[in-house]
Amino acid sequence: MDFKYLKEYLGWLYYQYLLITGIYVLEPWEQSIFNSVFFSSVAMVIYTSYAFVPVHVRLALNSLVQALLCH
């Protein structure tokens, strides 16, 4: 894997992200604000799903199995 091409590819992906969200037209400090808000919320979503989703699923399955067994 050639690092030069990887950097170029990641740069192109970032450019696409700027174009699609419309951030391309904003000034750099506004872009920084949006990026920090967006990526921190994405990070929080990932952390929450990693930390809590298995626990919730396990609890839900337990209560479902118990409900089925009782009847």
Partner: protein, 540 residues
Amino acid sequence: KDDQWKQDAPELNLESHSKGTAHSAGPPSSRQRFQRPESFENPPMYVAVMTYLGFGIVTLFGYFRDFLRAVGLEKCHIAREREEQKDFVPLYQDFENFYTRNLYMRVRDNWNRPICSLPGPVFDVMERVSPDYNWTFSLTGKTIDDVINMGSYNYLGFAENDGDFLKTVADRTQQYGLGVCSTRQEMGNLAIHEELEQLVATFLGVESSMIFGMGFATNSMNIPALVGKGCLILSDELNHTSLILGARLSGATIWVFKHNNMQSLERLLREAVCSGQPRTHRPWRKVLIMVEGIYSMEGSVVRLPDIVALKKKYKAYLYLDEAHSIGAVGPTGRGVTELFGLDPSDIDVMMGTFTKSFGAAGGYIAGKKELVDYLRSHSHSAVYASAMSPPVTEQILRAMKCIMGLDGTTVGQARVHQLAENTRYFRSRLQEMGFIIYGNDDSPVVPILLYMPGKVVAFSRAMLKRKIGVVVVGFPATPITEARARFCLSAAHTKAMLDQVLFDLNELGDDLCLKFSRRKYSPRPQQHNNNDDTDFELDS
């Protein structure tokens, strides 16, 4: 996902329709053209979602910046009232300029670019820089030379400064000077104006014509002279602002029908004939159908045979605005009437402009002699507006004579053919590449859909960097989800220039992900009626 094909076979029983299909032998008949569908392909759903997302985020930041300006944390560059006037009725409507202030101002380096040469097939653009994100500009003094011009309405390439071609214009300037200093009705009726009017009438195949100094004013000042209160105007949904302004100024009732949709038009005509005027139910004094030859934002061509049939059936009048189509379509450049093989006397009012295909300025209205004589005394433009300047008149005369072949050469005819060939080549190559293009295959106006606001801006800047000048259009001139880049082809573009533009478009299309079309095209697209004109062999 199905494309949204506009109806191409109306259910009306039109005799011209059957005449067209009966033609099987003979030269490629222009009658068969009106069966050619125009496509307005829909993009994939995610494109619309992303477009709204982009606009939404920029709007949120717009509110944020407005808040900062209101609080005082940021300097306000727009017009504001003075402190003493804060309690008066507001002079500057703050919210209405929201879009201008918060989106247009950020990216306005893509519009109003100063040009410092002739707007021919290539031109020079002045370089501008902005230290404060496009609120103010300063010119660096350098020029960007030899930018390929894909935005000027120069369909037949008459925007030229060759001394040989312009000799007659120089002679007339010597003879008449530049200013006319009067209106047509007073002292401004020069012999050269009469000569041009006769030539325009001969060119179009009508009895008489009248010329005006400004194209926009031709529409807006003459429609009020033709219709008034108690008349009905049926206007296409995508008509130009000059037509809409003229219609509103006249005081007539305006009903709008869907773009190029004959069912919608017929329904409105039936209702007009059956119910009459709104409260009194008296019959309408006049019913005027207003359409354009080529719609410049879509590149679509009007369905003229259907409209003429409808007009005859319901006894309405037809006003045809050929601003973009005169000189640019038709085998000899006579416009959409020739494209469809119709009789010019079927159209009651033929209007056109000289700005686009003739490289001059001004407009004309042509038709029966009674109509034009009436307009000479009743039109606001004839009575109050200054007459057309002599060198401009001579430029139109020489251009028209060139197209008709009256100057003894075949230059004009060659240009008309070159434009048709360029149009077909460019459009077919773009469709092969996978862009979404609107409009009819014959129209030299090619809108490429870009959709997202970020991409529109990036496209324009990237094309200028590659030395190609394009015009991009967004909201509010187009619907909010349909921002586009509009290419205007010219007979002066050589194949090398078109290939250069196509190459750059291909690269940019991949770079910016603009190829939204979901249709598969073979290298030689077969037309709906399989009637390829054999005069031009395109090697794609």
